[in-house]
């Protein structure tokens, strides 16, 4: 597994305590898992995604990532409605390992604007990882 210094943590993204990353593009937000999270999981073999139109409250489980012998839930860092899921991951879940920041899992339209301010910056997230 990677040392913390080896992790790729882009500065233009926001992060959550549960190791998701968040990228804002206009009115919608893309959500994926961080380099740290994919590294901890090992070879990801399946990504279970919600249906388009599903709505979640901040902290809800919105899907799961599976490795050969483990399942990890992914939690939504912001309340919202799912507008797209990344269909490419259905056939190529390994993309989450290979390019964690290109491989967003869902795109949502956030419903509680203020939650955006509660996310972690790169530096705050790094601090969290360093414990």
């Amino acid at each position: 597994m990677k040392e913390i210094s080896e992790l790729n943590l882009p500065a233009d993204l926001f992060y959550s305590d549960d190791h998701e990353w968040v990228q804002r593009t206009g009115e919608t937000i893309k959500i994926g898992i961080s380099d740290y999270a994919q590294d901890q999981m090992g070879d990801i073999v399946f990504v279970e995604m919600p249906d388009i139109g599903d709505t979640f409250k901040k902290g809800d489980e919105f899907g799961t990532l599976e490795s050969v012998k483990a399942v990890s839930e992914v939690f939504i860092p912001l309340s919202g409605e799912v507008v797209t899921v990344n269909a490419a991951l259905e056939d190529a879940p390994e993309l989450v390992n290979e390019e964690p920041y290109a491989s967003w899992i869902i795109e949502i339209r956030p419903t509680v604007e203020s939650e955006y301010d509660e996310l972690l910056s790169r530096d705050d997230y790094l601090k969290l990882l360093q414990g």
Partner: protein, 444 residues
């Protein structure tokens, strides 16, 4: 005792290593108030010969020891089992192995189950199958639970009342704890399930039919599929007699989404109802919702083809309380037996034996009808059918039993409304002589 290999000296040597004086000291930490009081009252030990005598005398108290023919199926069928199937499946490398957790030393079991899954999908016209469930009944219950998982937000299932009554009971047991609703669909005069009321059932996740059903009647699965899918529900079909698919259109080709049933007919003895084999197959898009063990193909370090247990993340040891089922085994040797049986038959053999079942059942049915019996249902049948007799059938049935022939079973044991009707089964194992004898008995 020959299963306990320790000599007295060895026990002493081993106790010296563990630091105990006597065997009972190994249990010293078990509190006194948890212990057995006195010796357990169990007979034995019996020698191999006494044991065999004991069981021979028990067996003599079963009709099976003296019966000439049992013209009864209802979920448990008498078919010929080739000697090679018995013989190969008693090989201890298969029989005394555990679940194949270490694939490098279990390729026999794993390839065998992979072949079983494949032949099962070909038989049922489906895309994927699991490594098997306990029996037909629990397979149906698990299929309904699977459909409820796929449908996510719906809580109601409909099951045909022509499904084996015991399967339905098991479904109630499995679904009772959660707040799922079960609706039973009525049967028409043709003995087929009446699907006309589906549109009136709210919140419907799945509909289950059995074909041939408990009355032996072949359901029109294709038409049912249209109605069920129109109601936005998943279509589950089940079966108790897989031989039927040697002749009939497969459930997959008829539009089913999940197919399950009992595989006992494929090489397992009736053995008072168990062990049997819960066969289970579905469309590929639902494969990650499958319950139970699944074997998949992969390669080893050197690129050679091999097999492993896969999709384990669905299962209880990883997903714990969120698993797709609590099952943590399959019917291993029974699945392998069914595969060896299907392989022994081949396409040609399966069709021939299925046709022979049909021919013999048709011969018997027509013979009985000529004595004045009437079909209870107008629907077409495979190797089971229901008849009602002009006179009381009981005395004739009793006379036949005295001659070692079990002539059907009373349908009112399962359906009170069908008083006086009897369910019969004829397979390839019953000779024409027996069938003629029964027909003759009724004529007189």
């Amino acid at each position: 005792m020959r299963y306990l290999p320790h000599t007295k000296e060895e026990i002493e040597e081993m106790l010296a290593v563990t630091g105990h004086g006597q065997l009972k000291e190994l249990f010293a930490h078990i509190p006194e108030n948890c212990r057995c009081q006195g010796e357990i009252d169990i007979p034995g030990p019996l020698s191999e010969w006494d044991l065999t005598d004991h069981f021979q005398s028990l067996a003599a108290n079963n009709l099976a020891s003296s019966a000439r023919a049992v013209l009864l199926g209802a979920g448990s069928y008498s078919h010929h089992i080739p000697e090679i199937v018995r013989n190969l499946m008693s090989r201890s490398e298969f029989l005394t192995a555990y679940t194949p957790y270490q694939p490098e030393m279990a390729q026999g079991t794993l390839q065998g189950i992979f072949e079983y899954q494949t032949l099962t999908t070909r038989l049922l016209g489906m895309e994927v199958a699991n490594g098997s469930m306990y029996d037909g009944a629990s397979a149906l219950a698990e299929a309904l639970l699977m459909a409820l998982r796929i449908a996510r937000k719906k809580h109601t299932v409909a099951i045909s009342s022509a499904i084996h009554p015991h399967y339905r009971k098991v479904v109630y047991t499995y679904l009772q704890a959660a707040s799922f609703k079960i609706v039973e669909l009525p049967v028409g005069r043709d003995g087929r399930t009446d699907c006309s009321g589906l549109q009136n059932i709210d919140d419907l996740a799945a509909v289950a039919l059995q074909s041939p059903n408990f009355f032996g009647v072949i359901e029109d699965l294709e038409t049912a599929a249209l109605k069920i899918h129109a109601a936005d529900a998943l279509f589950i079909t089940c079966f108790s007699e897989p031989f039927a698919y040697g002749l009939l259109r497969s459930p997959g080709a008829s539009g089913a989404d999940i197919v399950c049933g009992e595989g006992q007919s494929f090489g397992m003895s009736q053995s008072f109802g168990g062990p049997g084999l819960g066969m289970f197959a579905c469309r590929k898009k639902y494969q990650r919702n499958l319950p139970g063990r699944v074997v998949g193909e992969t390669v080893d370090l050197e690129g050679k083809r091999g097999y492993v247990l896969t999709l384990a993340t669905r299962e209880q040891h990883i997903r714990r309380e969120k698993a797709t089922s609590n099952i943590c085994s399959n019917q291993g040797i029974c699945a392998l037996t069914a595969a060896a049986y299907m392989a022994s038959l081949g396409s040609t053999g399966l069709r021939r034996v299925a046709k022979l079942n049909y021919d013999k059942a048709a011969y018997f049915k027509n013979g009985l009808i000529q004595t004045g019996a009437k079909l209870l249902f107008s629907g077409q049948t495979f190797n089971e059918f229901v008849l009602r007799f002009a006179d009381d059938f009981k005395p004739a049935r009793k006379r036949l039993l005295a001659k070692g022939i079990v002539a059907g079973i009373e349908l009112s044991d399962f359906y009170k409304e069908y008083e006086g009707a009897y369910l019969f089964c004829v397979t390839e194992t019953v000779s024409r002589t027996i069938l003629d004898e029964v027909i003759e008995e009724l004529r007189s």
